[in-house]
Assembly symmetry: C2
């Protein structure tokens, strides 16, 4: 991706995107296109800023935004045109761009338009829209998946680089699975939802669709962060994990939990489990039926009242462009009693605790993203039951406070197959890291914060104390060398550890920089035994990071191994003194 | 308190408690007394365990438990006897003791009995009970305050050492104010609420009443901690603050926000503000009206549906012993729509964000605990309006996710006056620390976790970098000396810093141990400049803590000031080399 960015000016990328829009001939993808001239003007501004030296990580990448997310000056229809004109809805152009969009645009993305969706983000099919059913990118008789149908297809067709969706019950994941693309649904609260027409305000998440994971991670990183306009935002915890261990434990469902899949889909999932193992992970079967049960609360229980709270008063005016299936679902939330809602929330809290027990000992959970890939005709003939089956493995995720990444995993029945990597709340990076291994991609960190720490001895990869770093969720940054101001001595410890001693004159010493959260670093230091210490260390490039040292006393008593250039090399050739 | 513990056997303390119960002649305090013989037997078990060497921090302290909290083998009436017998309620003795109670009993507390309350914890007066209005401890024509009336009066009368209450809207604070005792209401979720008949399950907190703050802190510390039986529990965050800065900023309401107070009450509050300033705090006036507004949502809005969810189906059976005022309040929650509840929760989230803005720049907020001290007769004549006024400064606190400590603050109108110190969620310790300064008490930490860090130089109290520790919420533990293995050198830094160098032979060096959360410690280390380091340091008593060091290079270049015995002494006599 970065090659493309460097070589292509934004203006040309945008021009190409509009050519693809025309060539694709999928008018149902868009609810409102930005006029090409306006998008080109925006692209030229990006090019000028880059030329002037601005660091715009998304410079010239094209963006499609689901039409339940505000863009200033454009209507937000949520898939129901009259909602954007009726006094009972939200009439008129949005006054302010949603922070999630604004942050991408500020980073250089250029908006192409607002995309079609299952009306009011209620559906997983992409057919529930007066703007037309969104056809699948490559199998046009099949559904695109929804509710974020247009954004997903715009990305799958190669028109937009980044598609924004929203996800309450799977709307950012099911279309990714059908499209053979990546869908990132972060932990609820990380990305601001201000400027989003709520589906269920408690559980809505703004999501990304991208063709490769790395761009999705970058866009997500840019969108994450609390905003004064979103009182429901949640920051990363101080001990957030920043990296997945090399050999994680991944929970997978029992065969019984996979009965909703046809044999071909079950085989595709089994292949995905094998792929997970091939990354070095181990898998463990767990009973996910309590999670699947919890899913029923989303539509059969009281939670649907959240949908009524969002747009029920408008639908009560019987707008002619309301989708009848959507309107019926939301109307069912009108007469739900608050005490039933309170009881269902308590049931969900218990289910979340039960989920935590089920996942004890596992780093992540792998599930099929959905159950089948229906045709548009089949869904139109049976608009509720198929849609419901599609949500089997997605509906419960936000309600149980899990993070999820939907990744392509081969093909099935002539179309893309997808799996979802699920993580505990705020363990988003762990799910992204396993996804990257599955896709053989290298991805950045979705968490902005972290402290870089230089290790030079027993905490290096492959050395005996490395699991301490892994347990704290440390993330590998780089193999480095120190400046030449250091000497390395073998200390009199068990296990053998080196001491990095700043003497002003010495040699560059090989090491690794790992990033960890402040909470992890504090725990690491609290457990550090004498004579080790953590202070500042100077790298070969002149930068300083937190780094290991030792007491002067221990350093002076050690065996100098500086000339080995690093601890692994010193160990390999042998150290001329017994340890301990 | 600790003197008493050492000198008095549990059996004698319990015998004395039953003598006071008899002498007090306040039968309305208790719904069920433990038979004296049983309590004495429990006390003898405690005495035997202590004699056998068990460390029981509450050994022999007497405990009164509000009768909406389960004790195994006893009925839990919640102030409505038929609730504990009717099939529509929770018939029969509780099978399991609530974790909050169990943790105190495990620490040596001896249960005296279950106490009276405003029925279903709905009220702030203590008069809404078929077991009788609970009279004030010393002014028997006035209300005790509620809903945790019996537990508060049992403590105020000197019968029980610890009274457990519950607090949703002020039930753990208003009775403390009237009783001239301490009420600690922690952040929602810290103390398990399993085994508690909910009032509003989302906002209920188990609270303590004690005559001195230190015991309340100790009991609270023992009760805090997630439990598998409580899915709504919340752990301390990794960067929890453990101590209040020496000169905090305390927000206080504008005069307009105090209009509900009579002139004498306003004067009493002004005196409390002066007392806060006398502790070294500065005060800043803020507009708390948005918080007071939010309070209305508790009863006038949809949140009352939580009360119906808890016990509404039982009250719908029209039990003869239902308090009519309570029954009417809870019945109003029956027909609340879920969408209205969802909307009110969103309003509360916005109000919480607004509260965060109001408190920006302040460490804490001080409010009067309540507005007036009515007579029982007045409340019985007007059971709703007075009760509502009493909650003016308490109703919103749990809904806006604040922690609170109700502390005595002199007298007013011939009775006790009380104020409440409020803190952001999880800043409980900060509120407790200011409360301790107001009461001229020394209290322990309510947070179990933390890392002890030795500082010997610029981070000592009064030294230039000490504010860094304060900003991280570090808590003073002790003035200490190192073992004799160290030398102290003045480093070539600005500001002047010492390096503590372990040489094996040296002198004890004076320092201070401060405790901080792992998150704070990691942030501290991340900001630490060369040549300083943090490793392990040995104290004079042979224990090891995290402590400051420096690079060997810097240590060797420094000026030895070991013979001064500490940095402050070295600075006082002057250092024979220029800094920087």
């Amino acid at each position: 991706m970065s090659d493309v960015l460097v070589e292509t000016m934004a203006e040309q990328r945008v021009r190409d995107a509009y050519a693809r829009i025309a060539a694709a001939d999928r008018p149902e993808v868009w609810i409102a296109l930005v006029p090409e001239a306006d998008a080109l003007a925006a692209a030229r501004v990006v090019d000028a800023r880059v030329a002037a030296g601005a660091d715009l990580p998304l410079a010239g990448l094209t963006l499609a935004v689901k039409d339940n997310i505000d863009v200033a000056g454009m209507l937000t229809t949520a898939g129901c045109p009259s909602y954007a004109t009726s006094p009972a809805g939200r009439p008129g152009p949005a006054p302010v761009t949603a922070p999630a969009v604004e942050r991408l645009v500020a980073a250089g993305a250029v908006l192409l338009g607002k995309t079609n969706l299952d009306q009011f983000a209620t559906g997983l099919v992409g057919t529930r829209s007066p703007f037309g059913a969104v056809r699948h990118a490559t199998l046009p008789d099949r559904v695109s998946g929804g509710s974020s149908s247009g954004s997903a297809v715009a990305v799958a067709l190669g028109i937009a680089d980044i598609g924004l969706g929203t996800d309450t019950a799977g709307s950012g994941r099911v279309p990714a699975a059908f499209g053979g693309i990546v869908g990132i649904k972060t932990t609820v609260g990380l990305v601001p939802t201000s400027g989003v027409i709520p589906a269920c305000r408690t559980y809505d998440v703004v999501t990304t669709f991208t063709r490769d994971l790395a761009l999705g991670v970058l866009a997500t990183r840019l969108m994450v962060g609390t905003d004064p306009t979103d009182p429901s935002g949640r920051p990363w915890p101080a001990d957030v994990r920043l990296g997945l261990r090399a050999a994680p434990v991944v929970a997978v469902p029992r065969p019984d939990d996979l009965l909703p899949l046809s044999p071909t889909w079950r085989a595709a999932f089994a292949a995905a489990v094998a792929s997970v193992r091939a990354t070095g992970a181990s898998t463990v079967e767990v009973d996910v039926s309590p999670m699947l049960e919890a899913a029923r609360l989303l539509y059969d229980g009281a939670i649907v009242a959240e949908r009524y709270e969002a747009v029920g008063a408008f639908l009560d005016t019987a707008p002619p462009d309301a989708d009848p299936t959507v309107a019926a679902i939301i109307a069912a939330g009108r007469d739900v009693a608050a005490h039933a809602y309170v009881a269902d929330r308590a049931t969900l809290a218990a289910a979340a605790a039960r989920t935590e027990e089920i996942l004890a000992g596992a780093d992540l959970l792998l599930l099929p993203t959905t159950t089948e890939h229906p045709t548009i005709a089949a869904v139109q003939a049976d608009p509720v039951a198929i849609n419901r089956r599609l949500g089997t493995y997605t509906n419960f995720v936000n309600m149980l406070d899990l993070a999820a990444v939907a990744v392509p995993a081969g093909t099935v029945d002539g179309g893309p197959f997808g799996v979802t990597v699920l993580a505990r709340a705020f363990d988003d990076q762990l799910a992204l890291d396993l996804s990257a291994r599955l896709l053989r991609e290298s991805v950045g960190s979705v968490v902005e914060a972290g402290v870089d720490v230089l290790v030079v001895g027993a905490h290096l990869r492959g050395q005996p104390l490395h699991p301490e770093l892994e347990a704290l969720g440390a993330r590998f940054v780089a193999s480095v060398r120190t400046s030449a101001a250091y000497r390395l001595v073998a200390l009199d410890t068990v296990p053998r550890k080196p001491g990095l001693v700043r003497t002003g004159s010495g040699s560059p010493i090989a090491g690794e920089v790992w990033r960890m959260s402040a909470g992890a670093l504090g725990s690491f230091l609290a457990a550090l035994p004498a004579p080790m210490s953590l202070g500042r260390a100077e790298l070969e490039d002149g930068s300083w990071v937190v780094g290991f040292g030792c007491t002067a006393e221990a350093g002076a008593a050690g065996v100098d191994v500086t000339d080995a250039g690093g601890w692994v090399a010193a160990l390999a050739r042998g150290i001329d003194a017994p340890a301990g």
